[in-house]
């Protein structure tokens, strides 16, 4: 795996994970 490949993986996973955590935490907070 090249450095560019790792960069794409890290950025993509990071973006999706942070958005998922943001949405879920906000949804669950509103629910409670």
């Amino acid at each position: 795996m090249t450095t560019a490949g790792w960069a794409f993986l890290v950025v993509s996973w990071g973006a999706i994970l942070s958005l998922t955590v943001f949405c879920l935490s906000k949804t669950l907070r509103k629910k409670s």
Binding site: A4, G5, L9, I16, L19, K26, T27, L28, K31
Partner: protein, 523 residues
């Protein structure tokens, strides 16, 4: 008080319940099989650039449009596209007939999807019982699948009877869930199902990540390089239009937008319930399942066992080949392989069930809303019609019936329906009203740039997809260019059947509106 003969309207048990139901509808076989194949074929890491752009310009806007118009229509006790479209454009007498696509399309997809889903149940049982253990290469595993589908006879299966038995079980499971209803059936199954799905997917993911280099003679065949196969960017591919179209198509199909399903689910929300955050949450849950879980299982695992050239060949064979031929072979070679193979097929089966029940909903809810049938009667009526149509797919699978249904129901109708709903939302209903409706009860503020995106960019993007798809695939398929002569009668027969179904749904819409007119509900 409810009017006589009319059933009380169902409702979701919780906000999280509806989000999980929409996520369950979106998370399907495509997340675990189609996405990794498309990414590997279209530039690896570079594919993620058009993929994320499509997510922001096409997927998310359409998701918000469907949630918003669904909740808006639900306020008038309309839960399916014909009624919802009419609430958006009251002056137009014909708009309800455009909504027929939102019932016809998902019903057609349901017919073949539920059969494919039954293969997954069958394979999860075969994994536990070791039925395909004697198949140790791609050719014999492909032969196993063909015999199971009734396309060949060999030592594994002499007829289609086993496949038919699993189809009956799968079909019954779907109908029972649908009969139970929104809160006790769909919501509960999606909550439990997604939990099991994510648990199994994480288990398999950990197993794949710990594979290392399973062949000591080929240390370069390892999981890290498997990720490289998927993620190393091939910049030159970004110049190819087909790569951008593949990314847009993947986003479109993975989010279940354009099916007429999300608007039906959203119609059971209350007027002040949020749709902006809910739509975003369902979309990101789908992306998590697709990019992080789906992207980390099949391709890295296949690479660790078959290397670059082998994986390229496998990816060319398509998503089904990857799921039903390659993955069982890979999992046979790992410790506790039987269990992991069971987990793999069962997670796909769950993903299939949570999607197929959503596909059945528009037709069932239409019968409930417009003809005041109770949930069980509507579900049984739907079951009788689709069960008969399923026989065409099962017994004429090798003759092109399944591909034909996928062409009309799963591709053409979906893109066309999305085009209609976004134009209705932004141009007919009006962007100012639409924007206020989207933000009514909202838990987040959507950036204002999305007003422009929903009004101009998304429709143009959809036109490009529709246009290029018609040129590349639609026109040759319509004119039967790629169909072998011996299959032509079966393909034409399937088309006639689909036309009949469309006509029946359109007639039911006409009948329902006539009844409403007679009652004085509409003028």
């Amino acid at each position: 008080m409810a009017e006589p003969g009319k059933q009380p309207r169902e409702a979701w048990g919780s906000k999280l319940g509806v989000i999980l139901a929409v996520a369950g509808s979106a998370i399907g076989l495509g997340n675990f099989l189609r996405f990794p194949v498309k990414a590997a074929q279209n530039g690896g890491g570079a594919f993620m650039i058009p993929y994320f752009i499509s997510f922001l310009l096409l997927g998310l806007p359409l998701m918000w449009v469907e949630w918003t118009i669904g909740r808006f229509g639900g306020g008038f006790e309309r839960s399916t596209a014909p009624g919802i479209f009419e609430t958006l454009w009251r002056k137009n007498r014909f708009i309800k007939y455009f909504g027929v696509i939102g019932i016809f399309g998902p019903s057609v997809i349901y017919v073949y999807y539920v059969y494919i889903e039954s293969w997954l149940l069958g394979y999860s049982v075969f994994a536990l019982t070791g039925k395909y253990a004697a198949c140790t290469d791609q050719a014999s595993m492909a032969g196993f699948l063909q015999a199971y589908q009734g396309l060949a006879q060999n030592q594994h299966f002499s007829s289609i009877s086993t496949a038919y038995l699993f189809f009956l079980i799968t079909f019954a499971v779907n109908i029972v869930i649908l009969c139970v209803g929104l809160r006790g059936g769909i919501e509960r199954v999606c909550k439990m199902g997604l939990l099991v799905l994510f648990a199994f997917a994480v288990m398999i993911l950990i197993r794949v990540l710990t594979l290392g280099a399973p062949n000591p003679a080929r240390p370069e065949w390892n999981v890290a390089n498997g990720f490289g196969f998927l993620w190393n960017p091939q910049w030159a591919k970004l110049k190819e239009a087909k790569v951008w179209l593949a990314a847009a198509g993947q986003i479109f199909f993975t989010l279940s937008v354009g099916f007429g399903v999300i608007l039906t689910y959203a119609s059971y929300l209350r007027k002040r319930d949020d749709v902006a955050l809910s739509g975003l949450t369902a979309s990101t849950a789908n992306e998590f399942a697709e990019v992080i879980l789906g992207g980390s299982i099949v391709i890295p695992a296949a690479f660790a066992f078959f290397g670059t050239e082998g994986t390229m060949e496998i990816a060319k064979g398509g998503a089904f080949n990857l799921g039903f031929v390659t993955m069982p072979l890979v999992l046979q070679q790992v410790a506790f392989g039987q269990f992991f193979a069971f987990a793999w097929f069962f997670l796909l089966f769950i993903a299939g069930v949570t999607s197929s029940i959503s596909l059945a909903m528009p037709a069932i809810v239409f019968l409930q809303d417009e003809f005041h049938l109770d949930r069980k009667t509507a579900s049984v009526l739907f079951a009788v019609v689709t069960f008969n149509l399923c026989q065409v797919v099962i017994f004429f699978n090798g003759q092109g019936a399944l591909d034909e249904m996928d062409f009309w129901g799963g591709t053409f109708c979906v893109v066309l329906f999305a085009m209609i709903e976004v134009v209705l939302f932004a141009w007919v209903f009006g962007m100012d009203k639409a924007w206020n409706e989207l933000h009514s009860g909202s838990d987040i503020r959507i950036p204002r740039v999305y007003r422009f995106i929903i009004k101009y960019v998304t429709p143009v993007f959809l036109l490009l997809i529709l246009g290029s798809w018609i040129v590349q695939e639609g026109w040759p398929t319509l004119l039967l260019h790629n169909i072998p002569p011996e299959k032509v009668p079966f393909v034409i027969g399937t088309r006639v059947l689909l036309l009949d179904l469309f006509a029946v749904v359109a007639f039911l819409v006409w009948l329902a509106w006539r009844k409403r007119q007679e009652k004085g509900e509409i003028t």
